[in-house]
Amino acid sequence: MISLAGRDILHAWGKFVFTGIGLGLLIGVTLTMAGVYRGMVDDGRALLDNSGADLWVVQKDTLGPYAESSSVNDDAYRTLLAMPGIAQAVNVTYLTMQVRRGDLDVRAMVVGIAPGRPGIPGWPPYLVAGRQITRGHYEAVADIASGFRLGDRVAIRRNHYVVVGLTRRMVSSSGDPMVFIPLKDAQEAQFLKDNDAIWQSRRRTGANPAFNRPGVPDLLDAVIASQSTNAFVNAVLVTLEPGHAPEEIARSVGRWKRLTAYTRPQMEEILVGKLIATSARQIGMFLVILAVVSAAIVAFIIYTLTMDKIREIAVLKLIGTRNRTIAAMIMQQALALGLIGFVVGKITATFAAPLFPKYVLLVPFDSIAGFFAVLAICVLASVVAIRMALRIDPAEAIGG
């Protein structure tokens, strides 16, 4: 026996290929959407991995520092260091903002890292070019996704920084590239007022007779200086000594220090479960819509192809073709369409993924799941056409 479906496809290959390509683009979008979600999760994990911390200590009862804002006194780390089991406790600030280089304006997450050496929490764990920050001010290490190059001068608020090093895959949970700068600079940038605000504040302070005393000329300067320094950071990144359970230490930090500490699994839950949950649902909605549209396209095409063959199907039945054979022919055509679509979609997604501004992670599992979803959709979509074909009366071949 010959394959009726195969022959029909070869005969009408143009229709199949073009519909397959159209369907394929849709499937490509679907796979990419799944990849966007995977990329977001992976960005979140990379963020946590790259911070190098075992515990994140944040302002009490906040989900900081990534999902909510949090501010912690910048000397809290000293008391944390005194706790048993804590090896390192390092201040860090995170601030998402626009970073400028000439005309280029990049959305970035500016990370303030405490003075020290590479390897302490918060520092970029490895560089792809250049060196780490060595000076206390105005040096930056940027992720290459920012588009910055070594030696670039970038502006963060009012200050300029020289890019001395480049990292890779150092992004915020929303995919913004990171720019690392010294902690002091970052604290200043975070709370920096514009010139007018500073002037206003100074005028107000100067007009206050309690500060502006004729007999104590240094008092006003000291007050103004204390107003314009920022003694807060967003979090303290903590590493533990071996043999200490993170949960226990997190609990005792919460109990004694009027701070909240999160372990790695808790942070992951906050990032993946809460921060990107809405995006995930949004993507889920798109996936459903795309699946429905794909099903509609396959159903429509298979239905039309079958409609065009009513007379031939009646003849096939008249000369003794089984219903099963005819149903198989239609279903095979739908599956062939799905197969073409999947191949086109997979290729499209693979080539398109790197072009997206945010990280798109194509996981084999999604491709396999997508493949079976496409097959299932095609089978479902062929049901309408099959039902119609089975209702065709062989007597129709003989006519009236």
Binding site: L4, H11, V315, L318, G320, T325, D393, G399
Partner: protein, 236 residues
């Protein structure tokens, strides 16, 4: 009368029931010997197609008796269980239009029937080629139906009707779309094939050009058949 061929006795067909029932066949009697080609002629609505559908086992008659060869296939009810196999193996159909399967080439359009019966592809194609050769279209065996002329298509359709060597051919206005020369050619082919393969052929027609070629004609009017002698003029 020969025990082979087609014999129809007292065949009735009623569509629907109650007040709206249509008695399409009231009393049909026919006898066609192997190798014989008879004409079935009647005005529109007289029951020609209904008769072919009953004999072709695609609709159920209401009553009567039909015999194919030695076997009673219908006697107030079907006597064969697999009507699909009956159609496939023992009845050849030729329609007004060729109705070839557009996505199969000529040889596979014909070979499909033996293939459906389980004959291996190579053997089925051999049988098909034999018929195509007999009908003089073997040189188009690998062409697609859309590449053939109308006459060639109709010859391929006849080859398809004959390939399983059915004892019966039912032809429903096979010459309607053809000019008189081609119509005559088709009738000649049907006669040749009937003789060659010992096939009983019923040709439904109201084509004035070919009516004189039949030796015997059945007239059907309001679901009742009357036999009469035809001119049997031959083809020249």
């Amino acid at each position: 009368m020969s025990s082979k061929g087609i014999r129809i006795e007292g065949l009735k067909k009623r569509y629907g029931g109650g007040d709206t029932a249509v008695h399409a066949l009231k009393d049909v009697a026919m006898d066609v010997a192997p190798g014989e080609v008879v004409g079935l002629i009647g005005p529109s609505g007289s029951g020609k197609s209904t008769l072919l559908k009953c004999l072709g086992a695609v609709i159920d008659p209401t009553a009567g008796r039909m015999t194919l060869g030695d076997e009673v296939i219908y006697d107030d009810g079907w006597k064969v269980r697999d009507l699909r196999a009956l159609r496939r193996d023992r009845i050849g159909f030729v329609f007004q239009a060729p109705y070839l399967i557009p996505f199969l080439d000529v040889i596979d359009n014909v070979a499909l029937l033996p293939m459906l019966a389980g004959v291996p592809n190579a053997e089925a194609r051999e049988q098909a080629l034999e018929l195509l050769t007999a009908l003089d279209v073997h040189h188009r065996a690998r062409a697609m139906p859309s590449q053939l002329s109308g006459g060639e298509q109709q010859r391929v359709a006849i080859a398809r009707g004959l390939v399983n060597r059915p004892p019966v051919i039912l032809a429903d206005e096979p010459t309607a779309p053809l000019d008189s020369e081609r119509a005559m050619a088709v009738i000649r082919i049907l006669n040749d094939m009937a003789r060659k393969f010992e096939t009983a052929v019923i040709v439904v027609t109201h084509d004035e050009k070919i009516i004189p070629t039949f030796k015997r004609i059945y007239h059907i009017r309001d679901g009742v058949t009357h036999e009469e002698a035809g001119e049997g003029r031959g083809f020249d």
